[in-house]
């Protein structure tokens, strides 16, 4: 007997024969007669199947062609952050009962996913200081954009004012989300008036250059104009810095990746979304609530579902139909493991290491730290040469440098330091930057 071709498909030829007979057809072809004959069974230009052994070798070879932080010292941030992830997190997320279940539409057999989601919402409220949170969005930037749409629904206004220090990439995504909603995006400076017809003022803190914004003052200005304050925050920074809740912000979005989620080249991540209680019925996404079962026992369920696309269809608060639950689980396990003191400690380690690095770099000839306010773990450095050139030279020394912001500010490089960067790495970076600047200076004096 010929063994099956695929380990993922259990039925044998004999099984199939019995089943086709039970169905009452002679062959599989009889089951697809409605597919137009001229297009049926097309040629597929794919490669042959790989054994698990060969597959592992092939993908491992691809992975080996990437320069991996860890092997390289890495000082990139700007929306995605390298933090230590405890082993517990990885082992919990590998549980098949979490990994291979669907959205908890049948709550009696999804209490695991649901209770994790309730913990997740609770933790977001705690770290942001907000009253309610949903069960998760795609990522930080899309959650931020959904925040703007929500503000438009609440205020019935259509001008979205965005502070000019918000990352341009976030504005680009905001544009994609609001383009066909009749909304207008207006970029405003810190000292500009919030337009009188604005639905919201959108603030990012720390901003695109790493500077912590005065969210309370900005929220006050938004409220004076009858607009809502929508903030995008870095959740790690909230281990130390003032929360959006304390600043009277109305709607909060955040990229949850920093809390226990691998960098994974940009995804999958999880968007955190929280707001004041009065606005909860205008929230996008899934929400989990606590209730009881017929025996009076505690249970959790998806709730306020009439906001969502599967019920309200074209009038839903959003088209989203995921909560990125597995990534929420990563975050929930991460925060559970870090606990109350660990959450603060990570923020403090980032803060002190980044400020140490900034002070050392600022001392180097040719380099200046250019921040117009306090920062957390990222800072802008004006370099003596284009950052792309510096980064190439750093790469030769097994260092992945900061993000090149040369398109926004002259020779600007955004350097991020987290608890994963050791003092040895930071000192190597500083030494390397000094050498690279000297080589450049030398090259210049020699000149043609």
């Amino acid at each position: 007997m010929t063994p099956n071709a695929s380990p993922y498909i259990p039925n044998t030829d004999a099984d199939r024969e019995q089943m086709l007979a039970a169905i009452g057809v002679r062959s599989f072809d009889d089951l697809v007669q409605e597919v137009p004959a001229q297009h049926r069974f097309p040629e597929l230009n794919l490669r042959p199947a790989l054994s698990e052994f060969d597959l592992t070798a092939e993908i491992s070879a691809l992975a080996a062609r990437n320069a991996t932080p860890g092997d390289y010292a890495c000082f990139l941030g700007s929306g995605a952050y390298r933090h230590f992830i405890p082993s517990v997190v990885k082992s919990v997320v590998a549980r098949g009962e979490f990994l291979t279940s669907y959205t908890p539409y049948q709550p009696e057999v999804a209490q695991g996913t649901l209770q994790v989601g309730f913990e997740f919402q609770s933790m977001i409220c705690e770290i942001t200081g907000m009253e309610v949170a949903n069960a998760g969005m795609y990522d930080g930037p899309t959650a931020f954009a959904e925040g703007a749409l929500m503000a438009c629904r609440i205020t019935r206004r259509h001008t979205i004012a965005v502070l000019d220090t918000v990352d341009p990439r976030n504005i680009e995504i905001l544009d994609a989300y609001t383009r066909h909603q009749g909304c207008e995006i207006t970029v405003v400076g810190r000292d500009d008036d919030v337009p009188a017809d604005a639905a919201c003022l959108m603030v990012q803190s720390p901003n695109q250059f790493g500077v912590v914004e005065d969210m309370a003052a900005l929220a006050g200005r938004a409220h004076d104009a009858g607009a809502l304050a929508v903030a995008c925050v870095n959740p790690t920074s909230l281990g130390m810095f003032r929360t959006p809740g304390e600043c009277d912000v109305d709607i909060v979005a955040a990229e949850g990746q920093a809390l226990g989620v691998p960098l994974s080249f940009g995804g999958p991540y999880v968007g955190l979304f929280a707001c004041k209680d009065v606005y909860k019925r205008q929230m996008p996404g899934r929400i989990i609530g606590r209730t009881t079962d017929t025996k009076g026992r505690v249970a959790y369920t998806l709730t306020l579902q009439t906001r969502e696309q599967h019920i309200r269809r074209e009038r839903a608060t959003s088209n989203i139909c995921t909560s990125t639950a597995l990534i929420s689980l990563l975050m929930t396990t991460y925060l559970a493991t870090l606990g109350r003191s660990g959450f603060q400690k990570v923020a403090e380690l980032c803060y002190h290491k980044a400020h140490y690095a900034a002070a050392e770099i600022d001392r180097l000839p040719g380099y200046t730290v250019r921040n117009d306010g306090p920062f957390f773990h990222e800072f802008l450095v004006e370099c003596p040469r284009p950052p792309a050139e510096i980064n190439r030279a750093l790469l030769d020394r097994k260092i992945i440098g900061g993000r090149d912001l040369g398109d926004r500010t002259a020779n600007g490089m955004l350097i991020c330091v987290t608890e994963t960067n050791t003092r040895a790495e930071i000192d190597q970076l500083v030494t390397a930057l000094a050498e690279i600047a000297e080589t450049a200076a030398l090259a210049k004096t020699r000149g043609p």
Binding site: R281, Q305, T306, I311, R312
Partner: protein, 126 residues
């Protein structure tokens, strides 16, 4: 439960009860039965002007949402805060404690466009 014959009914399953120049509006038992457990009621504020048969609010059960269409036009003079706080009152008795709004009506002839209880029962029996 029998359909009260002291009031008029619309095809959208709302009732209108005349009390002088003010008309009380609610939804019918047929509507609550098809919606199931009502969990949220959204009603306009006092003073809002509404037009006959236009949407004036929304009513939600766990897994459905329905528009509310007013059986008469006029100015809303009272909103039942009881059903906003405890939506289950609409299920309990949609004809008494579960009323939704009171509307001051200038033109009583609007009522002619509504059905009586017998006609409404015939409609829902179909």
């Amino acid at each position: 439960m029998t359909t009260p014959d002291d009031r008029k009914y619309s095809e959208e399953h709302e009732w209108a009860l005349v009390e002088g120049s003010v008309i009380t509006v609610g939804i019918t038992r047929y509507a609550t039965d098809s919606l199931g457990d009502i969990v949220f009621v959204e009603l306009p504020e006092n003073g809002t002007e509404v037009t006959q048969f236009d949407k004036f609010g929304e009513i939600e059960s766990v897994k459905a949402v329905s528009d509310l269409f007013t059986p008469v036009g006029g100015k809303i003079v009272e909103v039942n805060s009881g059903v906003i706080d405890m939506p289950e009152k609409v299920n309990e008795d949609p004809y008494t404690v579960g009323w939704l709004v009171k509307i001051e009506v200038s033109d009583q002839s609007q009522l002619d466009k509504l059905m009586d209880a017998t006609a409404y029962d015939n409609l829902t029996a179909e």
